[in-house]
Subunit: 383 residues, 2 copies
């Protein structure tokens, strides 16, 4: 007889993606229903006595009780810390609220902060976990597709400042990520598409095969079929590989910003108003722009740029500046917004450009005049 | 002919203490007048284009212009960020103010945040430097004796929460510390004594010879003679040695908390009201209590406890609970305050106790009943 029972037929199929950061290895467990076992999984790996479960009011209503029960049944005394839904919670004020909530829950350094939510909750709770007692253990349970394939992996945490997004934060790796792909069944279409833009990004960075696979399988990803788990796993593996090479973004990690220099400028110009433009939509436009800009600079073929925009359009994502409701101003306005972005280094613009699908690279010292000319062309072509 | 000119007779005598943290080595430069060369020293070591000079209104009035000039003359574009003086600035609100001030100064990750001030400014600016863009270079120019021998060394940064002191922060090592021992000539006697308590602590932890040297030389330390530079250098060397062994306080670093479990409780009970008790005074009482408690537990000789208290008293520092103006309540009140301190682990009390002067050790799982009995004895003996 084995001390460990064989897996029951009802147990979820789980894909494990390891993030082998030296001394801080952790796993991303991906699968439908994996969050239901959160308590036991967290207990087995981190042995906390207490947990602060940080979430937003919307997610709390959907999944709060189940997660609290899972933690408490595993012998982890869990306390809910609830913030308002939305990007506005990535603020100094809610950072203070979450830190104090974690302290109120008497979570010590060897206990755990669990982030249950999308990117906002993960970034905010992660920065609080990094800061309370100068660092507490941290678990991510991402509930949006965007968070499952991007923000929950890699240890970037933070809040926004009046000077820009994510300008205040910490590198703080989770001890475990549970990406339950069933949790996103209820996600609105628009948020699904927004998350999907980041999946496509990994193909465009350095996995041309994966991009082609996305073109063939995107409907099953959206429908919650087996392709969804596969897409999340490939995305997490792609991101983890880059993060392990360059945790603190001194080099290669910047590749993950493909499309993001444009995207951040567009988000800034729309006042971070999700009604007009959510992050993933901005990324979709940014990806299309990065490929068209690369083609214009003679770096990559125009047909790759067309193929990228074509695929993004076919899933319903925007790909042009004119797709932003209300517009984003002229080329100079966009350029100014880029210069305010944190990826700017010493006044020179750094872009991620591409020699083709799956062949992106870091381009330092891009001439702002070239960017302005490109943006002017985009705007007049669209007018 | 040498390319490097010999030191001019007017150059300050500088003692260098290296902090050899792997990959993040930095120097503490100690001496009268060393801050006057801040701009050139920072430029030589960190090559920043910009600096945010964080200070408080009092220090700004005394030294702000000189430091700004030193930085600007070295080609570093420097911007002042001024907070109100006092512990109340170690708050979420001023953390936000300083982060935004650093961003306003357009300091990027390779630029530098310079903390010019006492422990409050250093802790606050250090946490902001750790957090802005998830980590900017950081230089400490401590202007109090306490900061020169303790808080500016070792990378602990942070702010206070309503739940307690220093509960929110980061480990963020400076790239350089400039301890200008002439800057503290104008320090009020009470603050000098408070800083001196931390100097004595290093002797009590593991340097009995240094404690004896302090007994013989304390007047020259206070007067600003050569013993002051020597005392600061020995203190920094002692702290650096412990920090290099255990940067994140998983073990030995806790020795630096000698006297501090008592001290933090007393500060909490006096509402962090510096008019009643400043940190160094609380530490002095804490050191005396730690030695008397050790003696009462039969761990160390009573004459060492008497010698410790005797020396602290001779420089004008408090050593008894009854020395706190307005009192601190009964034994249970003090014990309750200890349990709220962050050094508490899983409900067991951890103390730094001593087998004698220079023979301190980490005592885990100290029985709260023993602490209560000891405190009751102290209070009734004093009544």
């Amino acid at each position: 007889m084995s001390a460990r029972p064989a897996a029951l037929p009802t147990e979820p199929a789980v894909t494990r993606v390891a993030v082998p950061l030296p001394g801080r290895e952790y796993d991303i467990l991906i699968g439908r229903g994996v969050a239901a076992g959160a308590g036991a999984l967290i207990r087995e790996r981190l042995q906390p006595a207490r947990a602060a479960l940080v979430t937003d009011a919307n997610v709390a209503a959907l999944h709060g009780d189940a997660l609290l029960a899972s933690l408490n049944e595993a012998g982890i005394a869990a306390t809910l810390v609830v913030v308002p839904p939305g990007e506005a919670s990535k603020s100094y004020r809610h950072f203070a609220q979450v830190c104090d909530g974690i302290l109120e829950a008497k979570v010590e350094r060897r206990d755990v902060v669990v982030a249950l939510g999308g990117g906002v909750v993960g970034d905010l709770a992660g920065f609080a976990a990094a800061s309370v007692r100068r660092g507490s253990a941290f678990v991510q349970i991402p509930t949006s597709l965007l968070a499952q394939v991007d923000s929950s992996v890699g240890g970037k945490t933070g809040i926004n400042s009046p000077h820009g997004k994510n300008l205040v934060g910490a590198f703080h790796q989770p001890g475990l990520v549970l990406a339950d792909t069933a949790l996103i069944d209820t996600l609105p279409d628009r948020e699904m598409r927004a998350g999907y833009a980041e999946i496509v990004k990994y193909g465009l960075i350095d996995r041309a095969d994966f991009f082609a696979w996305c073109e063939a399988n995107w409907r099953d990803i959206f429908a919650g079929g087996p392709a969804r788990d596969e897409a999340v796993a490939v995305s997490c593996r792609a991101k983890a590989a880059i993060v392990v090479r360059d945790e603190r973004e001194d080099g290669d990690r910047a590749l993950l910003n493909l499309g993001h220099t444009f995207a951040h400028a567009l988000e800034r110009l729309t006042g971070y108003d999700g009604a007009r433009l959510v992050h993933g939509e901005a990324v979709a436009i940014g990806l299309a722009l990065a490929f068209r800009f690369s083609a214009r600079l003679g770096l990559g073929p125009g047909q790759d740029a067309s193929r990228v925009a074509g695929h993004l359009s076919s899933v319903g994502l925007p790909t042009r500046l004119s797709d932003v409701p209300g517009g984003v101003g002229d080329a100079d306005a966009i350029l100014d917004a880029m210069f305010q972005d944190k990826k700017v280094s010493r006044g020179a613009l750094t872009f991620i450009l591409a020699r083709g699908i799956g062949q992106s690279f870091i381009a330092k010292g891009v001439d702002p005049a070239d960017v302005r000319a490109f943006l002017s062309g985009e705007l007049s072509a669209e007018a």
